[in-house]
Every structure is written in C-alpha cells, then in structure tokens.
Symmetry: D3
Subunit: 135 residues, 6 copies
Amino acid sequence: MFTLGVSDHVMIAHSFADPFFGPAQRLHGATYAVEIEVSTPALGPHRVVMDIGALRAILRGVLETLDYTNLDDHPAFPERTSTTERVAEHIAVLVAKRLTTLPADAAPIGPARLRVRLGESPVAWATFELPLPAP
Amino acid sequence: MFTLGVSDHVMIAHSFADPFFGPAQRLHGATYAVEIEVSTPALGPHRVVMDIGALRAILRGVLETLDYTNLDDHPAFPERTSTTERVAEHIAVLVAKRLTTLPADAAPIGPARLRVRLGESPVAWATFELPLPAP
Amino acid sequence: MFTLGVSDHVMIAHSFADPFFGPAQRLHGATYAVEIEVSTPALGPHRVVMDIGALRAILRGVLETLDYTNLDDHPAFPERTSTTERVAEHIAVLVAKRLTTLPADAAPIGPARLRVRLGESPVAWATFELPLPAP
Amino acid sequence: MFTLGVSDHVMIAHSFADPFFGPAQRLHGATYAVEIEVSTPALGPHRVVMDIGALRAILRGVLETLDYTNLDDHPAFPERTSTTERVAEHIAVLVAKRLTTLPADAAPIGPARLRVRLGESPVAWATFELPLPAP
Amino acid sequence: MFTLGVSDHVMIAHSFADPFFGPAQRLHGATYAVEIEVSTPALGPHRVVMDIGALRAILRGVLETLDYTNLDDHPAFPERTSTTERVAEHIAVLVAKRLTTLPADAAPIGPARLRVRLGESPVAWATFELPLPAP
Amino acid sequence: MFTLGVSDHVMIAHSFADPFFGPAQRLHGATYAVEIEVSTPALGPHRVVMDIGALRAILRGVLETLDYTNLDDHPAFPERTSTTERVAEHIAVLVAKRLTTLPADAAPIGPARLRVRLGESPVAWATFELPLPAP
C-alpha cells in the first residue's frame, strides 16, 4: 500500500454549547495543524499516489472555507459543536468530494482511503478516516 | 473511523539482564515520550471520541506509577525485562483497564481500539495496540 | 551562560481592528505553543538555573489568565491589538513579575534574562526577550 | 500488535522525465527523512520486536546504496522515475530482503509487516507498506 | 527585543569540488528547511515586527531563485562551493536586500537583525546572522 | 556570524541527593536529546564553520563516556548533582577540549563560541554556552 501525505494549517475561533466542555464553553480558538493522507493499493501512470500539487491545492481550498472564521457561525457545526473530531470529519468530507472531481490521470487509484489529522495543541490531536468513493 | 490522541512523558531508570542487549545491560535510563490514541467507529453524545480531560488524567495516573522509578524493581518486568515494547504494552493494559471504568457518556463507543507509542530517543520508538474490551 | 527552558500552550480567540491585517480582522483564534527560557551567568545553590517546577507553575499560572478567552476583551490589548508579538511581551512581563517573588534559593542568579517564544502555526512564531529585574 | 520503529536520512539528487512534474523535471535533490516500522503479533525470545541494532544497521546499509548519489543514474528508477513513492517502495523491498537473512532469534515473529515513510519536506511525505515474507 | 520568524523549504542538487567533503563530492541534493528571523528593538505602528505576509513573500521569492535547481550551476557558488553555511549566507543577503525595499510602515524598526537557519537533515543545520542595513 | 549545529542523544540513569528535587531524588533516568552549535565570525578555507564529520564524531565520542551509565557514579557529578544544567556544562567542556585538538584547517576560526542544549523531555531543556579557547 502506498500513501501520500501533505500538511497545512488553519486558524479558527469557536466555543462549545455543551456544559461537558467546561472552560472551553467560553469563546476561544485554535490553530489546527492539518495533515492529510491518501492511500492506494497501486501507483498511477505517473508513478505517484496522485498529483501532490493537486492534493495541496485541494487541502488549501478546503481550509480557506474555514480560515480566519468563527466556527460558531458555520452551518456545519450547528449549536456550537465544532469539536476537533467533527472538524476533522468536515475537512475529510470536503477533501474527499474534491478528490472525485480530479481528472483520471491525477486521481488516486481505488480502492483508496483518506485520513485527516488535526493537531490542536502540542499534546492533543484527532483524526478521521474514510474510504474514498470510486470516481 | 475517529481517533483521539494525547501525549505525555515519563522518566525511568532500567537495565537488561539478557546479554542480547550489550551495553544496555548496564543501569541507564530513558525519557519516554508517550502518545496514546483511542479509535472508535462513531462519536459519542458529546460529539467526541471520549472526554479528552479524562483521557489525559488516565494517562497521567498510569504514568505516575512509573515516573521517577527504577523499572528493575517493578513487578511487571521480572528479571529486568523492561524493553520499550514491554513498557508500551504495560502502559496500554493499564490505560485500557481504567478506560472501562469511565461513566458511559465519557467513554469511547465500541468496538474501540487503543494504541500506545513510546519514543525512547529521537530515532527509535515502539508501539503496542489492542482492542478495548466492551465496557 | 546557563539557560533553562520549559514549554506549555494556550488557546485563545482574537481579531484585529487594524485593516493592515486583512482577513485576520475577522474573529479567529490560535493555539500558541509557548516556550520560555531563563538565562543566568551561574547556577544557584541547588546547581540549577532555578526550580523547574516553580518555572512551569509560573508559566501555567500566567497562561491561565489567557486560556480559553477572547483577547479582544482583554484590557492588555485595547482596540484589538493582540498581535503575537504583543502577546509574547504580555506573557513575558507577567512571568518576569512572578519570578521576582520567588524565595532567594529558588530564583535565578542575576543578571538574568527571560525569553518568551510563541509559535502561532507550524510556519510562524514571535519572541520577546527582556532582562529580569534584580530581585 | 507490537511495532518497532527507527529513523535515519539520505541525501540524493534526481529529476523527473515526465512533464507531469513541472519544475521538478529540472535536476534538483532531496533530504529524505526515513522512518521504518516493523510490526509483529508477538514479541520474540528477547521480548522485543527484533534487534533494534540490527534494524538500524539494515536501514543504514540500504540507505548507503543511495546516499550522495544521483537517482537519475540508478537502475531501480529507469527513465528518471524516482518519485518519493517509488523510493519508499525501493527502500522497503531492500529492507525486507535483508530482514529475511537475520538469525531466527533476532528476526521479527511472523506474520510481520514493514512500513517505510519518507519525509521529503516539512509538508510532504510518502509511505509504502508491505507484508514481510516468512523467513 | 522582539523577533518574528517564518519558515519554508527549498529542494536543490549540488556537489562539492573540494576533496575535503569526501562522498559529498558526488552529485547529491538536499531539502533545506529554511527558518528566518527578524529582530528589532521595538514594534512598528501596526504593533508587529513587520508585515508577516511580506516576510513570507520575500522568503518565497528568494527561495524560488534556488528551488528545483542544481547549485553547481549557480553563479553565487563558483567552483561548486555551495556549503550549507554559504547557502544560508546567500539567502540572508538576498532577504536583507529585499527587506530594505519595503514601505516604511511594513519594514522592521532599526537597528534590526536577520538570522537564517538551514536544516539540511534531522541532525545537522547551519545559520547565518547579519545586521540589517538601515532603510 | 555563522553557526554549525549537529544533534545526537544519550541515555543515562541518575538521582539527586538534594531534597529540593522531590521525587527526582529517587533513581530514575533520562534520554537527553543533545544539540551542539559552534559559532564563528568567518568561514574557514573549506567554506564551512568546521568539518561537520569531525563535529559529529567529537560529540559522539563525548557522549560515549556517558551513554548507558548511571551518573550517580560519575566523578564529574559528586554527591549526585547531575542536573541537566550541569550535564550540559560537562558535555560542553569536553567538546570544547576536543575542538582545540583539531588540525587548523578543520577547526573553527576564532573567536568562536560553543552552545550545548539538552532536551530532557518534550517540555523541558537546558543549555550551556561558552567561548571556545583560541587553538
């Protein structure tokens, strides 16, 4: 199995409605260090998992929908539910959707998987992993 | 699949009885950079893998049974057998046990897995991974 | 010259009033990875720069005044001016003040210096450095 | 499952013939930060995944066949096809071959797996993973 | 004293003519992890060391003159003399020159200093530091 | 000013006699991540700060006098006084001594400085810095 990974980051504000989160109910924020990995059973015609430039551009494009925003206002996280796990899932779903629009010779050979890791601090992180839909 | 990870560290002395270990038969020590990850197929009622504060407290509690000790004296490592692999397994078993005592709304949804990674130096590490018992 | 360093982190929301900051005028946030270093010409009676437990507690105490808050509401940053440089300076001044209250045998030998580094993302950071006042 | 990991690095020149690679068609180079991991279901007689000294020596031995070379001249990468994915695969195959020559008490217990990760920059990496042949 | 730092990277091929360099006389390459820091005694009108976007753009602009090239062909390193120290100095001189062309309200307040650090591998790096000319 | 840096690590046991150190009075251990930097005003005849291979070999040679030992038995740390600061100073003094024995064309041009950094955990470190004696 081959995997290609790239990283980037995003800076957001948010808070949690659920009293479960203690002091994190207050408005605060995070820099998420974002790593994404695409895994495939075989390399494509260019002998890569996929076009690394395309993968970086897709990640940047997805992160730009979140960068410098308050996730409390984002429709994907109703009632202030933007846990790191949920943000990882949200990013993964958007990246997966964009991956399916790539031209065949730039896209990963299936069955492929996507993994998104969000580092929220030097001591805590969350990941979400999903199979990529066939193109 | 969702994963939540947290990290901490522990400082121990130890030595190895087995001549296989060469100079590491001498009394020496290590700082283990400890990372633990809990993976679940779905998020719980608070939209997290589990209570991150509880996970950090469990890890700290387990590490405190080892911190600033000489593992040569520890009953879990009879005859000086505290290899990094064995220490990772020991920590994993203790963390898993404590995870089963969490209240239902703070515990990971099963079937869940636990992975413990010990970095013993900038160039060497070991991990141990096990399924978590159903609560 | 001897230096002792410890690290921690803090998660905040903020925005900037100055149009100079472009998209960062919007409410967003950051995880600051905080490193502080105390430098002295000589070691104290316990052969350390200072009590490392005291240094970590001072840093945590200072960061707790900022953790999980919106810096736009903080009196130290009037008119939304909490640039990373200014937050580093603010933390440094508070840490320096607390260092002067340590008992003589736990405090650094003068003339000492303090340096605070805030990593705001994997690719950007700011530091502030000042001489510590004589106790 | 137990895993043992070690890291090293290698510095190479290369270029790509395929116009797909844009500016990377020009002769350039890379420092690959190389991490390898061996995973086994159980520990061997010395209570380790395998002899860590042997694993480091095998990795170094394999990397020495590439270090300070131009991969454009290497028979494993005909027509300038040394993508990071392909280099990871090449290293994995060579490491796997050497692992099968270890004496039984130093080798990993099967069924074992090998994973090779090449970091080509602070923001991009590739991995290749394969089952180890039974010794 | 305030410091602002940003990082990026560059991938180059090179070799050394001087027999002093042993195997590095052969054509090979490197990924340089590049960190630059600008230090000033005081913050400017926007309460920053300088415009961080401008600093990142300057660094990227300078690195683009080197990225995906063979330094053996570069006039700044005659007779194959592109040691990491010399490349750090070369980048620093180019960054310094571009810093002097910034509009006054985006440039660092003097007397300022610039420091460039090139990580050539996980275990080796070089830096060059110089005072910035007054604008 | 030019700086050359290399890193390595060492694994030791130790304890502290001074009650000031609390639980660290018990026998424990550490992996020290060791970074050393040599700074000079100018490059030597080979256009480097010094021979990087020689610097790595000197560091390794010094660390081998400590690796896999119990510092409580080491004459440099009488009465169990091997604080991280003191170990950094000890390593620095030994490295400095060996640097003065290098042949002129491999040694740093003076006035040179040496800085030794010991990372004792992911969240704590100490450094010692001294001018190098003229050769």
